[in-house]
């Protein structure tokens, strides 16, 4: 049982709190457990507590309250260098006075590994990130992407079971970042290492992770696989933070059978799926993804509520069209349609009617 628990909850935060000043909590009652081999991303705006969590896991910060466990063992009082956790830093933190090979060799040296074995491991790790030819260079002679690879190789060279990454791709340009996202995910899965990845970039989080923990205000708002996070945000913060979203404010008019009718502030009524509303008369914010808005009435079920809309702006974006509408008194209602051969291009000023499947419109808490 012990072994399986340790594997199922390889990393665990139990009721962890953190305060720097003794007045306010940066991390409030954090509970998290991740199985071995998982790639988990901590996503959130700056100041949400995600980096603090990472630092507590790495051992650079101590929890004010609660327990942090690694493989079933409390590691609260273990100093960072004994935790055996690999870490990749935001600005790589490659030691500037050492060559690339020396940087990689460093964790092996402090582990008293013999010279020939060290060299083997360093070469292997560099090859793994396609940097085999750069062992003799200084970090300052490398490009940002190359430094990133070296930092990664250094964090992996001593074969840690857990690797932490603190916004490792923040300094790279978009193209390189996408390439590296891909490489990191592959490497992590191939090596079977458990990874905790911190970022404020939702695309990164969605594309790389097994699960994403969305942080806000010192709490995990939702912990779920990327698709679930996107499709079924559990509260208005997550809905808002992940992907693009149309928001309409209203009050629950009818509720029952997994569906509810919301009367918007403009007086219109729409169908929605109650997520965290439970009774009639409750204030709610409904959220609809732009790509789930339907302009073709024939595709809606009979009796579905529809809304009148006026086209304000049409933007051609290549693969999709983005159309801004005025709906229920809101000027920033956006819909996205695929650039298909039969797709209509809505001209500004056109009056249309829009609707959606009730399941795509989620009645969430009113912030």
């Amino acid at each position: 049982m012990g072994q399986t628990t340790a594997d199922a909850a390889y990393v665990a935060f139990e009721r962890v709190q953190k305060s720097y000043d003794g007045v306010s909590l940066v991390v409030k009652d954090l509970n998290l457990s991740m199985p071995k081999g998982e790639f988990l991303t901590m996503l959130g705006p700056s100041g949400s507590g995600k980096t603090t969590c990472l630092m507590m896991l790495a051992g650079f910060e101590t929890a004010t309250h609660g327990e942090i466990k690694l493989a079933g063992k409390n590691i609260n009082n273990i100093p960072p260098h004994k935790r055996g956790i690999g870490m990749v830093f935001q600005n790589y933190a490659l030691f500037p006075h050492m060559t690339v090979a020396e940087n990689l060799s460093f964790p092996l040296e402090v582990r008293k590994i013999g010279k020939s074995e060290r060299e083997d491991k360093v070469r292997h790790a560099l090859d793994m990130v396609q940097m085999g030819a750069f062992g003799g260079r200084r970090p300052s002679q490398l490009s940002g992407g190359q430094q990133q690879r070296v930092a990664l190789a250094r964090a992996l060279v001593f074969q840690p079971e857990l690797v932490l990454m603190d916004e490792p791709l923040g300094a790279l340009d978009k193209q390189l970042r996408e390439k590296m996202q891909f490489e990191i995910t592959h490497l992590a899965h191939d090596l079977g290492i458990t990874t905790v990845y911190v970022t404020h970039d939702q695309t990164e989080a969605l594309t790389m992770s097994d699960r994403v923990a969305v942080f806000n205000d010192g709490r995990i708002q939702q912990l779920a696989p990327p698709d679930q996070l996107y499709e079924a945000p559990e509260n208005s913060f997550v809905a808002q933070f992940i992907g693009e979203n149309n928001r309409l404010m209203g009050t629950v008019k009818e509720i029952g059978g997994g569906i509810c009718v919301v009367r918007l502030d403009s007086g219109d009524e729409i169908d929605a799926k109650p997520v965290n509303v439970s009774k009639v008369g409750e204030r709610t914010q409904v959220s609809i993804r732009p790509e789930r808005v339907e302009i073709n009435k024939t595709r809606l079920r009979d009796g579905a509520h529809t809304l009148k809309a006026e086209v304000l702006e049409f933007i051609f974006m290549g693969d999709i069209f983005r159309t801004r509408l005025r709906v229920a008194g809101s000027d920033d209602f956006v819909i996205k349609t695929r650039n298909a051969p039969d797709q209509v291009r809505l001209q500004p000023g056109t009056q249309i009617e829009i609707g959606w499947l009730p399941g795509d419109c989620r009645a969430l808490d009113a912030p």
Partner: protein, 516 residues
């Protein structure tokens, strides 16, 4: 277009838009930029040239300059050219006569005492020898020649006649001593007395020179013929010896000969405890050697002070670099405090603290750590110098260290620890190497400032804690031997440059940082 350029690059020089070669255009643009840069720095450059480079050049020059002997007693220096010091002091009348002429003229210009002061640096007694002899030399009975010339022909009294004779090349050719003495007298008459030589009767030394020329067999045209064979004469050498027996001894002559050139290595020899002996440079007597000891002591103490500054300054700088801004600023003020107190206040404070009846000793005795009879000697020795100088110079170590440490992100230490390094390993392998440029800059600053300090060592160093700079200050301010001071200063400068060069070779000067 790009293709066209490439083709041109292969066939000939690349041209700018206006058809000039691109390289020329670039150079022209750069030259204008350089000129503007030069203009911007020119006030400072001028200032530095005037206040820094020029004095150093002057100092270098002074350490070898020695025109005073040649200028004051040129005839003597010339007469001594053929003299060999190993044969003892000169005996020949000609040399003494040359010195006599020189001294009479020098006395008139009041230059003989300056020469005495200069030669006194080389052998004790020159000062009073020249002063005393100079005072008397005008009164020596050489008027016996004047009287005999005037008696034999009154024309010899006539300034105008003299002027006429001395203007004639043929006369000058046969009477070299006379011509030389007359010229010097004429110049002196104009410069010092504001008189016209043609209206004045020459002084005795001119007649003395004429007598010596004639006695040597010269037969000048133009001048009234005289036969000097049976004249009364005076032995000038005897006059000198009567005045002071030192004129019959070797040292003064040797000094005049050794230092007769316009330039001398004498100051430098002196600065390394050597002197010009009868057989060239030799070491000074054991009990007169002081400078080499002081140079070595200056180096050792300065290195010790630098090392102490590193040891004390490093933790403080580290603390400052890692504290929140407010506490760091407070600490910075404390570090800079020594700059804000006057040297005398600080010195008094050190004395109160360090002396044997001082606060530290009192405390130690009270604590029972030190016996009352064996109080520690913390001042008026090397310890005093090291303590006081470390205190003064510490900011010069801390500031560059701090500014370098400030640029080392804490993530390096974290990275090292996450890679498995203990605190010490992380510090020693990762943090320390990156702070070395700060140590380098601080050490250079502290060391160079230390070897030049003299006030503090003078006040708290006693006799064992003084530096070579104290001797330089002494020679500048008290003994007035500026040549020796310049030579000592030059050696110090060279030592600094050599050390700098070694430092560059060993550590690399680009490995020195004063900040990010």
């Amino acid at each position: 277009m790009a293709g066209a350029r490439n083709i041109q690059a292969e066939t000939g020089p690349m041209l700018a838009a206006d058809g000039r070669p691109l390289k020329d255009s670039l150079n022209r643009a750069l030259r204008r930029q350089k000129l503007r840069a030069l203009l911007l720095i020119s006030p400072l450059l001028l200032f530095i040239m005037l206040t820094f480079v020029a004095p150093i050049a002057d100092m270098l020059f002074r350490s070898v300059e020695n025109q005073i002997v040649q200028e004051t007693i040129p005839r003597t220096v010339k007469a001594l050219e053929g003299w060999d010091p190993s044969t003892g002091a000169p005996h020949d009348e000609a040399t003494f006569a040359a010195l006599y002429t020189d001294l009479v003229i020098a006395e008139e210009y009041k230059a003989h005492t300056r020469l005495g002061t200069r030669l006194n640096y080389e052998f004790g007694g020159a000062s009073s020898l020249f002063r005393g002899t100079g005072r008397e030399v005008g009164k020596w009975p050489t008027e016996v020649y004047t009287e005999q010339f005037v008696a034999s022909d009154p024309a010899y009294r006539d300034g105008a006649a003299w002027a006429l004779w001395m203007a004639d090349p043929s006369v000058r050719a046969v009477l070299p001593l006379t011509a030389d003495a007359y010229d010097a007298w004429a110049l002196m008459t104009v410069v010092e007395k504001d008189d016209v030589p043609a209206e004045e009767q020459p002084l005795d030394f001119v007649y003395t020179a004429l007598y010596r020329d004639l006695a040597a067999g010269a037969l000048p045209q133009l001048m009234p013929a005289v036969d000097v064979d049976n004249w009364d004469s005076v032995a000038i050498r005897d006059l000198f010896l009567e005045e002071d027996a030192a004129w019959g001894e070797l040292p003064v002559w040797q000094a005049m000969k050794s230092y007769g050139g316009n330039y001398t290595a004498g100051y430098f020899l002196n600065a390394v405890d050597m002197q010009i002996g009868a057989n060239g440079p030799e070491m000074r007597a054991e009990d007169e050697r002081v400078y080499v000891t002081l140079f070595i002591r200056t180096m050792i103490l300065s290195i010790t002070i630098t090392a102490t500054c590193i040891l004390l300054g490093y933790p403080v700088a580290w603390l400052m670099a890692n504290l929140p801004a407010r506490s760091a600023n407070l600490l910075m003020i404390l570090v800079l405090l020594p700059f804000w107190t006057s040297l005398l206040v600080r010195t008094s404070a050190w004395k109160v603290l360090l002396q044997q009846q001082g606060v530290i000793n009192d405390t130690l005795v009270w604590l029972g750590l030190v016996d009352d009879a064996n109080r520690l000697v913390l001042i008026n020795n090397e310890a005093g110098t090291i303590i006081a100088m470390t205190h003064i110079l510490l900011p010069f170590m801390i500031l560059p260290l701090y500014s370098v440490m400030k640029t080392i992100p804490p993530s390096y230490l974290r990275a090292a620890k996450s890679l498995g390094a203990t605190n010490w390993t992380a510090f020693w392998r990762v943090y320390f190497p990156q702070s070395v440029p700060g140590i380098g800059a601080g050490s250079i600053l502290v060391f160079i400032l230390a070897i030049g300090y003299y006030i503090t060592p003078e006040l708290v160093g006693g006799n064992k804690g003084v530096f070579i700079s104290n001797r330089i200050a002494y020679h500048i301010g008290t003994s007035l031997n500026w040549g020796l001071a310049a030579a000592l200063g030059t050696i110090l400068l060279v030592i600094v440059l050599v050390l700098y060069w070694v430092y560059d070779r060993v550590v690399g000067i680009d490995n020195v940082k004063l900040g990010g």
